[in-house]
Amino acid sequence: MEPKIKKRLQVIAAQACLIVASAFFLIPFLWMLSTSLKDITQVFTFPPEWIPRPFNWENYVEATEFIPFFTYLKNTVLITVFSTIGVVVSCPLVAYSFAKLEWRGRNSMFIITIAVMMIPAQVTMIPLFLLFNKIGWVGTSLPLIVPAFFGVPFSIFLLRQFFRGLPDTLRDAAKIDGASEFRIYWQIMLPLAKPAVLAVGLFQFMASWTDFMGPLIYLTNDLQYTLSLGLQQFQSQKGTEWGLMMAVSTMMTLPIIILFFFLQKTFIQGITFSGIK
């Protein structure tokens, strides 16, 4: 009986810790939700009130009219979707080559890939800006999409770790049956790597969805802006449109929260660190 009680107490203690910690993470988020439903007079009520009275749903409608919301949404979706496709197509190929195929210089190339992760983006930012400017891509979303098709070192690294965990025997059997390298990759290895590909895809999706510096540098015409950039327009000399800004932020955040909630198990499974050496 006693160990059972002990276990019970442990679970209760764990729950309590989690609830307290959750509050810290949840409060600002709930505040965002609450503000998105307040009208301007209630935003500055002191002491602050949690429940908007009345619920001011018009903020959501007004926000979409204050900035060209649907244009920005379209731009954001396009950039996010295409750069995610880019990463999901290119990175597993490269990672598979690093993990399972043997070629001269493979290991040194992999070490270089790891080293490249440590180069701050700001070092490459200026020459890339000048390069994209020269070929006329500044002012388009191409600089935010095209590089993803050439691989991202962090994603290549994560996927390589995953591929390394898959048994070689699968590949050998298919090889003896006469399957081509590409067929083995496409029909056997890639389906097995689904959780890792999903994890990498989700990381890229989130990074592009909330990216600020990239669009700030490359997008010059305000009809090409993304939502993240558009949020700035609620701040002006005259002050901040709190309710409207929080309404747009809520609309931006909700889809990914839902995505994360349902995919988290696969997501965590897909990241593996066994065999980092």
């Binding site: 988020f29 965002m32 009520t45 070092v123 909330t210 700035q232 955040t253």
Partner: protein, 302 residues
């Protein structure tokens, strides 16, 4: 027989052509998006270059000017201050949180989502939200402090508190490393704990003799990534201060100043020199971490 075996082995290993073909997108990407810009950036750092005019070679002048640039030193100070506090705190809280989120408790899916929430909120909104939570007049934080009888400072308005405020806000966004710690924790074989329990180990012993040592490769990874991220702090202070780094440049971070030089004043050469100094700082720090890792990172042999 022997020849057949050799043939088989060769067949199984796969050809160099296939390997290179599979890796080709990245090999091209490496040259276009890393090697070329890296070399170009070294060259630019020795030039006086605005986008409108082609660069003229000026030798080490950019570096000399930086040495005498007060704001450059200020931005280094701010950035190091941030990194020194943020990186250790984020590792401590990150590991602790991941351990809590790895327990077998009902509703874990919801807890995990909650911890990940701030990572999903756009940084611009995050900045504005915190500006307001920390407002000395009507902010929630001082309101709560007031309840326990503390009169809170003016947070983002004061030179003393602006950086600690930013550290607090940044800790709110540690969801990504936590996910990576969680993955690391799920990699630790269950039978290690079972064996320890048989030997009568308590929670403390299990944590310090199994969990933490086996988690060190992941801590190492997050430490390197954390240092890089801390030195690249940009969006949060930029939006908080609308690019000004106020008050009194206490929130002017290195990359913000670099951005201003490049894209506000179009001093591309000067900014490139800054980028290179940043690269060197990060490289030195990473090298130190790598060198120290032999002492404290334990690899689990599989």
């Amino acid at each position: 027989m022997k020849i057949q075996k050799q043939k088989n082995r060769k067949l199984l290993k796969g050809s160099t052509t296939a390997g290179l073909l599979f890796a080709s997108p990245w090999l091209i990407g490496l040259i276009l998006f890393y090697a070329y810009p890296l070399i170009a950036s070294i060259y630019f750092s020795f030039t006086d270059y605005s986008i409108l005019q082609p660069g003229t070679f000026i030798g080490l002048n950019n570096y000399k000017d930086l040495f005498n640039d007060q704001l450059f030193w200020k931005s280094i100070y701010n950035t190091i201050y941030f990194a020194v506090y943020f990186v250790p705190l984020s590792i401590f809280f990150g590991v602790a949180l991941a351990m809590a989120l790895n327990m077998k408790v009902k509703g874990m899916g919801i807890y995990r989502t909650i911890f990940f929430l701030p990572t999903l909120v756009p940084h611009v909104a995050l900045a504005v939200l915190w500006m307001w939570l920390l407002n000395p007049g009507f902010g929630l934080v001082n309101e709560i402090l007031g309840v326990v009888g503390i009169s809170g400072p003016s947070w983002l308005g004061s030179v003393t508190w602006s950086k600690p405020s930013l550290i607090l806000m940044s800790l709110w966004g540690i969801g990504q490393p936590v996910i990576i710690y969680l993955a690391g924790l799920s990699d630790i074989p269950e039978d290690f704990y079972e064996a320890a329990e048989v030997d009568g180990a308590n929670w403390f012993q299990k944590t310090f003799h199994i969990t933490l040592p086996l988690l060190t490769p992941v801590i190492f990874f997050n430490l390197v990534m954390g240092v890089i991220a801390a030195f690249q702090q940009f969006t949060l202070p930029y939006t908080l201060t609308q690019g000004q780094g106020t008050p009194a440049n206490s929130l002017t971070f290195y990359v913000m100043y670099l951005y201003d030089n490049a894209f506000k004043y179009f001093k591309m050469g000067y900014a490139s020199a800054m980028a290179w100094i940043l690269f060197l700082i990060i490289m030195i720090l990473t090298a130190i971490i790598f060198a120290s890792s032999k002492r404290w990172v334990h690899y689990q042999d599989k």
